[in-house]
């Protein structure tokens, strides 16, 4: 009863990668979600790839759990991409009328990471807090900075408010 399935969360650059290899029960899902959220904070991660290549069954519980996790990840200002949905899974998900509306999907890990990078670049451009005219002109300079965090914590950057006035 006490045993739960620990899902390893790996860090790659600004991203976290978690691969679900076993069927998840309620407790494991909660543990995984908490683990993932803590790691996002610790690592300052901007995006998460959840790999479900090895998952053979997604029922409505699993679909809802993945969706809930995606919502929580979004609330921390990070993006979540689900990768590795097998063709059979896609078919049964459609038949069951199940969707995971809050997560983006990609074919595999490589495409998932590319997708995250693209999403973060795009969201930086749309940031409601202008980072200043010069850096807007050269988005390359922004690369080292935390992306979505800018929206919430504009530390030492008063330019955001000035730009509006």
């Amino acid at each position: 009863m006490a045993r739960t399935t620990k899902i390893p969360v790996l860090k790659i650059d600004d991203f976290l990668v978690a691969s679900i290899q076993v069927p998840l029960d309620d407790r494991s899902v909660v543990e995984f979600q908490n683990d993932l959220l803590v790691r996002i904070i610790e690592a300052g991660a901007r995006g998460v790839v959840v790999d479900i290549t090895a998952v053979d069954v997604v029922d409505s519980f699993m679909a809802r759990s993945l969706n809930d996790i995606a919502i929580a990840v979004h609330l921390l200002g990070a993006q979540m991409v689900i990768v590795g949905i097998q063709p059979i899974l896609a078919v049964t998900l459609v038949e069951m009328g199940l969707t995971i509306p809050n997560a983006v999907t990609a074919l595999n890990l490589e495409k998932g990471l590319a997708r995250l990078r693209a999403m973060l670049t795009a969201s930086q451009g749309d940031s409601p807090w202008p980072t200043g005219a010069e850096s807007r002109g050269q988005p390359g300079e922004d690369d080292g900075e935390p992306g979505p965090e800018q929206a919430f914590v504009h530390r030492g950057r008063p330019g955001g408010d000035q730009g509006r006035g």
Binding site: M1, P23, D25, D26, R27, D56, V57, V58, D59, S60, F61, R64, P87, I88, L89, V91, T92, E95, M96, G97, L98
Partner: protein, 153 residues
């Protein structure tokens, strides 16, 4: 071939997984292909989850059954003594759920399996019987028969 009934008592979430595994094994023994097996496993998962999350406990019974014409099928019976289903018609509508987004289950099972029947008495419990027949070809995807791709179009 093992044709005896298999009862899986659902008392904990891990029992859902046990039911799923047992169903997968039986489906393989009977010769269901990958996607049909997957439909069966997903349905069992859904029914077992309904038992656990709505009724608390119950039983999944797996059995090999035969149709009048001799066709073989895998039967799943999910029974519980839970609250029962108030409005069966509504429960079979897409997107309907009483357990906070968990549902959508029954219409899904209905589509994944060849046939499904429900009997439910409010306050006494629910029995769902679903069968997947071996000759049910609805989910024979071209994906799994690549050699046929050229012939179609």
């Amino acid at each position: 071939m093992d044709t005896g009934e298999r009862n899986i008592v659902i008392n904990a979430e891990t029992d859902i997984i046990l039911a799923r595994i047992a169903g997968g094994e039986l489906a393989e023994q009977l010769g269901f292909d990958t996607i049909e097996k997957h439909c069966i496993i997903t349905s069992i998962s859904e029914l077992a989850a309904n038992i656990f999350f709505i009724a608390g406990s119950g039983t999944i019974t797996l059995a090999v059954v035969s149709r009048n014409d001799g066709q073989t099928g895998l039967q799943v019976i999910a029974s519980d003594e839970g609250p029962g289903i108030q409005d069966l018609e509504q429960a079979l509508q897409d997107g309907y759920s009483t357990s906070g987004g968990l549902g959508g289950g029954l219409p899904g099972v209905n589509r994944l399996m060849s046939e499904m029947a429900i009997s439910s008495v409010v306050g006494q419990g629910t029995v769902v019987r679903a069968v997947k027949w071996l000759d049910d070809d609805r989910f024979t995807l071209r994906l799994y028969r690549p050699e046929r791709d050229g012939e179609r179009t």
